[in-house]
């Protein structure tokens, strides 16, 4: 059923229809134009200037070239990928594992589900300071346990050690965002009809075969979605890293979003900051194309 008469516009003149549509869509158009299009165009514009704020001088692609030839650019890109992939995969493992538990739980399933909402809703600031406390060098519980079990000789400064800073941030991030994977997987698990398993059991399928042939195929879409969307979001994360390490020590946790902030706000190199933001935008566009082509997410609203 097409929508011209769906909306009951049959007895109205064409022009009034048009006007109505425009009036109703005005907030949406205004929102995207002012809060997205203008800033994005401005970002791209600034990226071609040196000192775009005070004394703009057109420099062509110089900012981009300066960023890409910087020795550390590939390193920061690698850090971003490392952070995104490790947090996403580990969140998926935690979320999937726990969703399987909750889905099978005979009792207490509902309260376990409620429990998982807390990490999801707690602000990043809270999560970060909780983990800074847990991993604190002097009083942290983790150091105390490691010392008591004799695994270490003296307390570790987790967020300040080159080898451990990234894993520590990843742990705190998985704590918060594992619940995202949990809820998506759980929703998909609960949508699998029980009869599938009953029939499989009648036919003598083993536990493993049931997981492989029924559960897993039903979760494939959810798993792809989590890997892709959560991966993109983690690649973009600024707050959790900034609040824990500011990108240190010795820039082992400096990712591209941290670098954008460094350029634009800390160093006042606005042209460089916006050029790097534009590069991130291009990378995101690639991720977006994969998302649209691979998962066809808009099919739900455009049928």
């Amino acid at each position: 059923m097409r929508v011209a008469n769906r909306f009951g516009l049959r007895d109205m003149g064409f022009d009034r229809d048009r006007l109505l549509v425009i009036v109703f869509l005005l907030p949406l158009i205004g929102f995207f134009a002012i809060l997205w299009l203008v800033p994005m165009v401005y970002t791209v514009w600034s990226s071609f200037f040196s000192d775009p704020l005070v004394n703009p001088v057109f420099v062509g692609f110089d900012n981009y070239i300066a960023i890409i030839v910087d020795d550390q650019f590939l390193y920061f890109l690698w850090n971003s990928v490392l952070f995104a992939v490790s947090t996403t995969v580990l969140s998926l493992v935690v979320g999937l594992g726990f969703a399987l538990v909750v889905n099978r739980a005979v009792f207490g399933g509902a309260s376990l589900r409620t429990l998982m909402i807390f990490p999801y809703l707690l602000p990043t600031v809270v999560v970060v300071f909780l983990w800074r406390f847990l991993l604190d060098q002097n009083l942290g519980l983790v150091n105390r346990l490691l010392l008591e079990f004799g695994l270490i000789d003296r307390p570790i400064e987790f967020f300040g050690t080159v080898a451990l800073a990234m894993p520590s941030i990843v742990t705190a991030s998985v704590w918060k965002w594992g619940s995202f994977a949990f809820f998506i997987v759980l929703a998909n698990l609960q949508a699998i009809p029980d009869e599938y398993y009953e029939r499989a059991m009648v036919q003598g399928a083993s536990q493993w075969q049931q997981f492989r042939d029924i559960t897993f195929p039903h979760l494939r879409g959810a798993i792809l979605l989590i890997l892709l969307v959560r991966g993109i979001w983690m690649f973009n994360k600024f707050d959790v890293i900034w609040l824990t390490t500011r990108g240190g020590p010795a820039s082992v946790t400096t990712t591209l979003p941290i670098r954008v902030y460094d350029y634009a706000i800390r160093l006042g190199e606005f042209g460089m900051g916006t050029a790097l933001a534009s590069i991130m935008f291009v990378l995101l566009a690639v991720g977006g194309v994969v998302y649209f082509v691979g998962l066809n997410p808009e099919s739900g609203v455009t049928k």
Binding site: F7, V94, W208, F270, V301
Partner: protein, 291 residues
């Protein structure tokens, strides 16, 4: 090899054993995840409610407090800007939730009920914008608000936060309206109701669970936000709790007890949402994949 071990009839590991193994594995995973999730939350509560005297008595953190006290909260209220930061958080969050939800309802309704040829394009723009890095958006917004002289006004924080919460809200509401059959409205029109009355008396009540979900998700984004506000506000007296807490933690008289008490205060509204409104949250996950 693997298949011979755990396959169906005739597999080397009988199904009864497999069932038991998977049950044991599931309970082990469950226990580990529970410990992982609960420990930080328990510590926060236990440390927030202890006085410094009992907290580190004996040189180690006291995990089961002998006495509880609200002194840490009193210190925060009397000697820091906690209360004004909290009010700022409320002002920014409430305004942003209102804007984001209203925008989502109007847009969601028009996108489902009108014949718009560019729906795929709009859907992609919406999805794409909610994947953009907040920091990438915050930087140009900062300059724009600076030029407009808004860096020391709530409105810049409210707009910046709405910019990142609205795309998902629109997406969710759009999906929700998609599931409300047009027939309800048509029968209202058939009985002589105007379009506006049909929307007010038929569509909006039906869409209620949808916009409550949307409001909760926008609440979660706004209450949680650090990045946008940190960049677009320069006046410290307007900071919400998330950004303001960093300033409070720098004070010399703030110890672990006060820190955890402040985290507890920030967590309180999300706790309440989780306790009383979780079904709406679940619905959001099922429809729109969360945020």
């Amino acid at each position: 090899m693997f298949e011979r071990l755990v396959g169906g009839p005739g597999g080397l590991v009988p199904n009864a054993v497999q069932q038991r193994l998977s049950a044991v594995a599931l309970y082990a995973i469950g226990a580990l995840v529970l410990l992982f999730v609960l420990t930080p939350i328990y510590l926060m509560v236990v440390v927030a409610l202890q006085s410094p005297q009992t907290l580190f008595s004996g040189g180690e953190l006291t995990l089961i407090p002998p006495t509880l006290t609200l002194n840490n909260f009193v210190t925060l209220v009397e000697q820091t800007s906690t209360v004004s930061y909290f009010l700022n958080s409320v002002i920014i969050t409430v305004s942003s939730v209102f804007l984001s939800t209203t925008l989502a309802v109007v847009s969601g309704y028009s996108l489902t009920r009108f014949d718009i040829s560019a729906k795929t394009l709009v859907a992609r723009a919406v999805l794409f914008s909610y994947m953009v890095s907040p920091i990438v958006l915050a930087i140009p917004l900062y300059v724009i608000f600076f030029r407009l002289g808004l860096l020391n006004q709530y409105v810049s924080a409210i707009l910046a936060v709405t910019a990142i919460s609205a795309p998902f809200s629109i997406w969710l509401m759009w999906q929700y309206f998609q599931n409300i059959p047009i027939a309800y409205e048509e029968s209202a029109w058939a009985r002589g109701a105007s379009r506006w009355r049909a929307v007010r008396d038929v569509v909006l009540p039906l869409a209620r669970p949808g916009y409550i979900s949307v409001a909760i998700f926008s609440f979660a984004v706004a209450w949680n936000d650090y990045t946008m506000v940190k960049v677009v506000l320069s006046d410290e007296s307007l900071y919400p709790l998330t950004v303001g807490s960093e300033l409070i933690f720098q004070e010399v008289f703030i110890g672990w007890g006060e820190q955890m008490a402040l985290l507890f205060i920030i967590s309180l509204p999300p706790f309440l949402v989780a306790a009383f409104l979780q079904n709406y949250l679940m619905q959001g996950f099922n429809l729109g994949h969360g945020e």
